[in-house]
Assembly symmetry: C2
Homo-oligomer: 357 residues x 2
């Protein structure tokens, strides 16, 4: 079997060493004679894992004082509810931009809790660009953005300066580049792209935002309670937190998020260059908004897509099928994808163009 | 190193074959060339896992028609909120019995959503028995019980006939014995005792109970939506669901829940017999309410507890320390604990009694 290059949008490619560590931990962990899977989360071994995972988040992103880090459950989808649950009272207003399916779901969920002002939307253009001309009102509780739109292949290249707490769903590009955390009120991210496996969700929150609303928040959805309990209000998703720790160890070994950014930019550059140069393909997004995580492209002759898909699969390229909302192809090239994977894809694209010239 | 016998209350002992399968799946899954950890949850491989896990739940517990099965996130603690969120409107009343820490947390959480009637409590006796003399009112939305009280070592030997939907937290004894699911409106259980690893929660619910309330339910907390989406409204906790499937495969291979019950009863019989016969130890619970999952016991001379703990650890017995609410010792002897583990503990207790006669 040829080496498989995994372009899946998520759950997605992980560093090999993290998967190997996970495999070993399933059998035996730290000389205890027990598997990590069967160990108490209150034991010193797992407490060490949780502490290291949180420390790595703080170190890699340069999280400033006054912010807390938590590993929760429920994915970004639960954060869509937890953000307005914790940060608004009934009658309050929150602002959102609508830049894709996930942004749209986030603002829809918020409407259960507060008034929602949609400042800008690219929905009419099938979300193929990031709207930029809008003003963030000063009288809203927060402003919510999606940093990378996994399905549509667009990404915020810079984050706005917001007069109100800026909240970002960074599920699909966290740890792919440096971010100035001090610009944000809250950042959340499902782990299963750049940070590990499905089953845990990272939250970084400015402490001063919490505990300000009057509504009753169910314990498991209460950021303050979760943070006070160091992400162990109840049994945490032990293995998912462990895999996050191993993945972040790898990010650190590679040189941290600045090194990730450099490599991700080079990967994206090579792939977008081929899409532009290749007579069979075209990108789907505004050039200035193109994502360095999810590269979406279609064929000038859609009738060739089936054949290209087969050629890609035969070459060991997996998970390239585009989301049904966009069609065509999507190459998800998260941190753990190496340049060889990009080159393998570029080679298949070139060979296919020659064969179909 | 001697074989370690894992008496941890949860996360807890799992079938060895399940942990070995998990270890292999971390490296490569079903001949795809990919790790299960990096595969799309929408691919046929994981859909097969989810379907088999749900089928095994239905088969092993004999789930009747008209019930749905879901694998969610957040543990039993999130269910404490989801049950009243989905099944009551403001002003409604729900009934609970208060039989331990988790029952108490469940009813406290319900108070955020509805009126709560506590029908009976053994709190004054440090929860060392299961109260039995109470009447379930007909004008409440549901009646909630905790089937096994992990911390205090008591267990419902039979379930009441309820005139209103009976809701049970079975986190620490599900799949340990047959249950007549048709008696229940809803059963939930965190996976990390008898059903796999931390990170997923089983819900079995009678369909006709859902969609009846007026309140707005956040999408991730909406049973109906989760079931309509076959537990994939968002990315499910892939590895935790896989480990549940592997654990349930093992239960089936062992002869199902009736065989589990037989073995669990024999294990509990041996251990309780030793506690009664041994001059140094005594049980903490009413005999008729003793749990077959968590066996709690203390020493007549508490000053010997440290020495006994050392003797147990030296013999490879792990996780025996009692919860601080009860003190002494707790042997959690879930499905995957074999009779050899019990015999090893009994031997240490006997040897310790001889040495301290």
């Amino acid at each position: 079997m040829p080496k498989v290059h995994n372009f899946s949008p998520g759950p997605s490619i992980l560093p090999r060493q993290a998967m190997e560590a996970g495999s070993r931990a399933c059998l035996e962990f730290q000389g205890t004679g027990l598997s990590l899977l069967e160990m108490s989360h209150r034991g010193k071994e797992f407490i060490g894992v949780m502490n290291e995972a949180i420390s790595l988040v703080k170190e890699l992103l340069g999280v400033p004082a006054g912010y807390s880090v938590a590993f929760l459950q429920g994915g970004a989808s639960l954060q869509f509810a937890m953000v307005p649950f914790n940060l608004t009272d009934e009658g309050d207003t929150a602002a959102y931009t609508d830049t894709g399916t996930w942004a749209s779901k986030a603002l829809k969920e918020a409407k259960m809790f507060c008034n929602v002002k949609v400042l800008a939307s690219s929905k009419e253009a099938n979300y193929n660009f990031i709207p930029k001309n809008y003003e963030i009102p000063k009288d809203v509780r927060y402003f919510h953005v999606t940093s990378n739109n996994t399905i549509y292949g667009t990404q915020l290249q810079t984050f706005p300066n917001s007069p109100v707490p800026l909240i970002a769903d960074m599920s699909s590009d966290i740890f792919s580049r440096p971010v100035d955390v001090s610009k944000f009120g809250l950042i959340y991210a499902g782990a299963q792209k750049n940070m590990g496996i499905a089953g845990t969700t990272l939250v970084i929150v400015k402490d001063e935002l919490l505990g300000k609303v009057k509504r009753k928040i169910p314990s498991m959805l209460d950021y303050k309670l979760q943070i006070e309990n160091e992400s162990m209000y109840n049994t945490p998703p032990v293995f998912a937190v462990y895999m996050a720790m191993e993945t972040l160890r790898w990010v650190k070994q590679q040189g941290g998020v600045a090194a990730m950014q450099k490599r991700n930019e080079e990967k994206a550059r090579r792939l977008y260059a081929e899409i532009e140069a290749n007579p069979l393909f075209k990108g789907t997004c505004a050039v200035e908004d193109r994502s360095r995580m999810n590269v979406t492209f279609v064929m000038h002759k859609p009738e060739l897509e089936g054949a290209f898909n087969k050629a890609a699969e035969a070459a060991g390229l997996s998970g390239l099928k585009g989301h049904r909302s966009v069609g065509g192809f999507r190459a998800s090239i998260y941190n753990a994808m190496d340049v060889d994977g990009i080159d393998a894809l570029v080679t298949v694209m070139r060979d296919f163009a020659k064969a179909n010239a």
